[in-house]
Symmetry: C2
Subunit: 197 residues, 2 copies
């Protein structure tokens, strides 16, 4: 890549990250190009679709998440590893409002520029789920696609501004449906009612 092209590429990515953090994944591409002091056609030349741009923006987070999932497979208990991965996934999706819906669409669309990344993510989660299931700490009647769906629904909850104050609590509730360990059972929650703000 030519030096000027490289510079445009990196600058566009930085500006797009800022704009999409502000406005969500449906932000105007024209606006991004404008803020980057570049023609709209130049943005489209570097990132031919909105999803290609999203994939580039998420690349770093995705790669980190994949690496971390591999580490968790050996460094943590199966249960902690699974919950930790879920937490990371949700945190990563929260960076860009609406991105989890794009991901759920992309994972079923082989043509999407986001497809491969999503498949990799789901595979990481699937491995951690299987390990927890083998240990008996995750319910056995869900598979990797179910887990990815539940992770997605958690990210969707995290996307709703009105639910921000209770995002952690809702995370615990849904996670308790995935786990089977006593510490997260509903009976336990029943015994120790938690004060709400």
């Amino acid at each position: 890549m030519r030096a000027d092209a490289r510079k445009n590429h990196d600058h566009l990515l930085a500006v797009a990250g800022a704009v999409i953090t502000e406005q969500g994944v449906d932000a105007s591409l024209r606006d991004i190009a404008r803020r980057a002091d570049v023609g709209l056609a130049t943005l489209l030349r570097h990132f031919p679709t909105r999803e290609a741009l999203l994939d580039a923006l998420l690349r770093t987070s995705f790669d980190e998440l994949t690496t971390k999932a591999a580490e968790l497979e050996t460094s943590s208990s199966p249960e902690d590893a699974l919950v930790s991965w879920l937490r990371d996934f949700v945190a990563c999706a929260r960076d860009y409002r609406g991105v989890v819906t794009s991901m759920m669409t992309a994972i079923e669309d082989t043509q999407s520029a986001l497809h491969a990344s999503c498949v990799t993510m789901r595979a990481s989660g699937t491995r951690l789920l299987a390990r927890a299931q083998a240990e008996g700490t995750a319910r056995s009647d869900i598979d990797g696609t179910d887990l990815f769906a539940l992770a997605g629904s958690l990210a969707w909850l995290g996307d709703q501004p009105s639910l921000a104050p209770r995002a952690d609590h809702l995370f615990d509730v849904v996670t308790s449906a995935i786990l089977t360990s006593a510490g997260n059972s509903n009976a336990e929650a029943e015994r120790r009612p938690r004060a709400r703000g």
Copy 2:
């Protein structure tokens, strides 16, 4: 309302219902007006915002849901009533792709034309939740807003075409996190692993 206006109103509602069922809540208003053989300005005169149109479209379902919730309060066991209401809510939201996100936005926006309907819905759910909590069949550390959020996340899952085949299963998983009864406990799910397609 004048006769011709009434006719336009009803016709627009019917056409809008069809188009939004096909294309989701972000369907082009211009397209709806075009298909109704009416000027775009006429559509906007009857329904000044997209949310006003959505509210009108959902009015019937909303009212039925509210009525049914009141009936469930006396006719069913607290647990069955709560699950039944959740199921109806999800079914109603599935009519229009993306509507649950509009609802979650609207319930925090007093100005939204959808606001009042959403508040009523949440109140219905809250009453059913409280009854189940009093009986001990719903976990005590969630409130009506949490329930509405979880119902929303279930509707979001139902919105994803790729998850359609497992929508019922995911409903059961999330519902098991809300309920505390033995028949839905994770331990029980663990004992009777369920075959997946």
